[in-house]
Amino acid sequence: MAGNKKINKRDIGKLLNKWSQGFTVFVPSREDKVTAFAKWDGVNTNFMEWYRNTVISPKTNFFPLMEEMFSFREEEDGYHTELPSSDKHKQLIFGIRPCDAKALSILDMAFKEGYEDPYYLSRRKDSLLVGLGCTNPYDSCFCTSLGGGPFDSTYVDIMLIDIGDELLIEEVTNAGRELVARTAGLEEVTEADKARAKEVKKSSYNKVTKKINTEGIQKKLQACFEDKDFWEKVSTKCLSCGICTFLCPTCYCFDINDDSFKKQGARFRSWDSCAFPIYTRMPMENPRSEKWRRVRQRVCHKYEFFPIDFDVIACVGCGRCIRQCPVNWDITEILNNLPTKA
C-alpha cells in the first residue's frame, strides 16, 4: 500500500486549495481557544507545527453538539413541520488521526443499526478522510492495544506520512485514489522516501507506551459485573461530569428537546451522557442512579456490550477521557486491574 506520490509540506496550502474545489475542507484549528477541526481559512497551515490531536474530536463534524431536527409551527389547520436546510457540502477532514477515523467507523455502526440516522449518515456520505499518521503520540494514547496504531490506514481514504520536509501520500480507498489521481503537481516518491516512511512508522508505533490487555476483556467484565465493591471503589473519585463522554470520539448518546416560543419552534438533539445522574430521567427514571453503576456502564458499554452487537470494542484509545478528566480517572487503570474471581 506504499504510496507513489508525495508533497512538500510548504505546498500543503496549494493542495488544500485544490481540494477545496470539490469539498469543504476542515483542518485542525486552535482559533477558537480550544483545538478542534474547523473550516480551513484558505491560508493557514501552521497546524502542522502544533497539531498532535484535537480536544474536540472530529465526530462533531458528523454528529454535532446540537442540531436542529425539524422546525414546527401551529396554524389553524394544525401543526406544520419542516426539515432544516441540509448542509449538503461534502466534507474533507484533513489530518484526521487514525484513532478518530476508526471511531467514525464505530459511529457508522451505531447510527445504521436498526434505524438509519439521516442526520449523521447524510454528512458521512461523500465525506473524505485524509489521515495524518502520528509521529508524536501522547503519553495517554493507547491505540495499539485496540488493534490500531499511529499509522493505521484502515479507516481513512488517504493516509499521509510525515517523513520530514515532505508528506508521503498513501491512497487507501477508491475515493482516495481518484482524488490523488485528479491532483496535479504531486511528486513521485523515491525508494529512500519509502524506507524513511517505514522507519517513521516503526518508531512511532513504539512511542505508544500506554497499554491495556484486551484479551478476554468481555468475559472479565461479565464476571465482575455484580462486584459492587469493586465498582464503588473505582468510581469514588469520578465527578459524574460529561467530559469523558462528550469528548469521546465513539460516544453517541443524545437528548432531544424542543425550543419553542408561542406557536412555533424547533426540535433539537444535543449530546447526552450516561455519566449524568439525570440521564434518561425524562421517559422514566435513570436505572443507574448510583454513581458506580454509571461508571460501570461507560466501561462495559465500550468493552463488553458494544462488542456483543458489533464485534468491535467501542474505544479507540485516543486518550481524551484521560487527558481531559479533572480528577485523572484513567480507564486503562480500571481495565488493567479488573478483579479476577478467586
Partner: protein, 316 residues
C-alpha cells in the same frame, strides 16, 4: 511534609478516628496527581504532597458518608468551613490535615511558557521562588509566579484557616493580587457591549458537560436548577444564551460560598475563563457585605443572614 502526612493518616485510621482519608496520589500521567480516597492504613504510603495537587478535595465531603480525614490547602479549608456553615458537613466528622500552600503549578501555563506539551517535558520542579523546567535535557528557570494558577497569585489565605493538624509552617502570599486579577481588570476595562460580545464568544464554546458545577464544592444542590423541567429555567439545548444563563445563575448561587479555588476554570475542557466570573462575584460579595467565604465556621451563611446595616436601602 509527605512523611508527616503519611504518619498522621496512618494514625488516624489506626486509632479509628476516621473511616476514610481523602488526599492525593501520583496521577497516571506525568506530573499529575489524582484524588486518593482510602480506608486501609496500608495505602497511606500512596499519599503525596507536591506543587501539583490541584483538586479541591472538599467536593467529596458531601458525598462520602462517615468520618473523614481530609488533606486541605488554604482555599480547600475555606470550602470545608463553608460546608460546615451550610450544615452539609459536621465539624466533628472531619479531621482537617492542613497543607500550608505556596501556590499550585498550572501545567497549561508551563506548556505555554516553554512551547512544549506536558508529556514532552523532562522535568518540572519548584525550587523556592523559582520553577525549573527541563526540556530536551535543557534546564530553564523562571520565577514561580509565571506558572502558578491565577487564583494562587496573591492568595490571601494560603495557610489553611481551620485545621486539626498542620503539616508545616504557615506560608505567606506569593505575589500581589494584581497578577491574579489581570484578566478581570481587562474585562472591567471593556465597554459593556465589548464584554457582552466577549462572553457570547466564550459561552458559544460551552458543551454543557457540567464539569464546572460538579467540581465545585459550593455546588451541592441535590437537584440543580439547570435540570428542572417544571418550570424549565434554562434550556438543556447548549445554545450560548442558555449556557451563559446557566453560568451566571450558578455564580449567584455560590455567592458567599465561593472561595476562589479556581476549580471551575481548571476543569473546563473548553478553556472558558470561568474564574473571571467567579472572582468578580467574590469581589462583589466582599464589597457589598464585607464578607469572604469560609473564614468563620460559626458565622451564618451569607445569604441567610440579615443585618440592620445592610448596604442596600431596599432591604433595610
Amino acid at each position: 511534609m509527605e512523611q508527616k502526612l503519611r504518619q498522621e493518616a496512618k494514625a488516624l485510621l489506626e486509632q479509628g478516628r476516621v473511616d476514610y482519608i481523602i488526599g492525593y496520589e501520583k496521577g497516571s500521567l506525568k506530573f499529575t496527581t489524582t484524588p486518593l480516597i482510602i480506608k486501609d492504613k496500608n495505602d497511606v504510603d500512596r499519599l503525596v504532597v507536591n506543587p501539583f495537587i490541584v483538586n479541591n478535595l472538599s467536593v467529596f465531603l458531601t458525598e462520602i458518608r462517615g468520618r473523614i480525614g481530609i488533606v486541605a490547602k488554604g482555599c480547600d479549608s475555606r470550602s470545608i468551613i463553608s460546608l460546615i456553615q451550610d450544615n452539609k458537613v459536621s465539624r466533628e466528622d472531619v479531621v482537617i490535615i492542613g497543607v500550608p500552600c505556596s501556590g499550585i503549578i498550572d501545567l497549561c501555563k508551563v506548556e505555554r511558557l516553554v512551547g512544549e506539551e506536558r508529556d514532552e517535558l523532562d522535568d518540572v520542579t519548584r525550587e523556592g521562588d523559582k520553577v525549573v523546567i527541563v526540556v530536551d535535557g535543557r534546564k530553564r528557570e523562571f520565577p514561580i509566579e509565571k506558572v502558578l494558577f491565577d487564583n494562587c497569585l496573591g492568595c490571601k489565605f494560603p495557610t489553611p484557616q481551620e485545621y486539626d493538624v498542620l503539616l508545616g509552617e504557615a506560608t505567606s502570599p506569593v505575589s500581589e493580587m494584581t497578577a491574579s486579577r489581570a484578566r478581570i481588570a481587562e474585562l472591567e476595562g471593556m465597554s459593556s457591549q465589548e464584554r457582552w460580545n466577549f462572553w457570547k464568544g466564550e459561552f458559544n464554546r460551552c458543551i454543557r458537560c457540567y464539569a464546572c458545577r460538579n467540581v465545585c464544592p459550593a455546588c451541592f444542590c441535590e437537584r440543580c436548577f439547570v435540570e428542572e423541567t417544571e418550570p424549565q429555567w434554562v434550556s438543556p439545548i447548549p445554545k450560548w444564551q442558555d449556557n451563559l444563563m446557566f453560568q451566571m445563575t450558578r455564580n449567584i448561587h455560590v455567592a458567599g460560598r465561593c472561595t476562589d479555588c479556581g476549580e471551575c476554570e481548571r476543569a473546563c475542557p473548553m478553556n472558558i475563563p470561568l474564574r473571571s466570573m467567579a472572582r468578580k462575584m467574590y469581589e462583589i460579595v466582599e464589597e457589598l457585605f464585607s464578607y469572604e467565604a469560609g473564614l468563620d465556621e460559626a458565622a451564618p451563611p451569607l445569604l441567610t443572614a440579615y443585618e440592620a446595616v445592610e448596604a442596600e436601602d431596599l432591604i433595610r
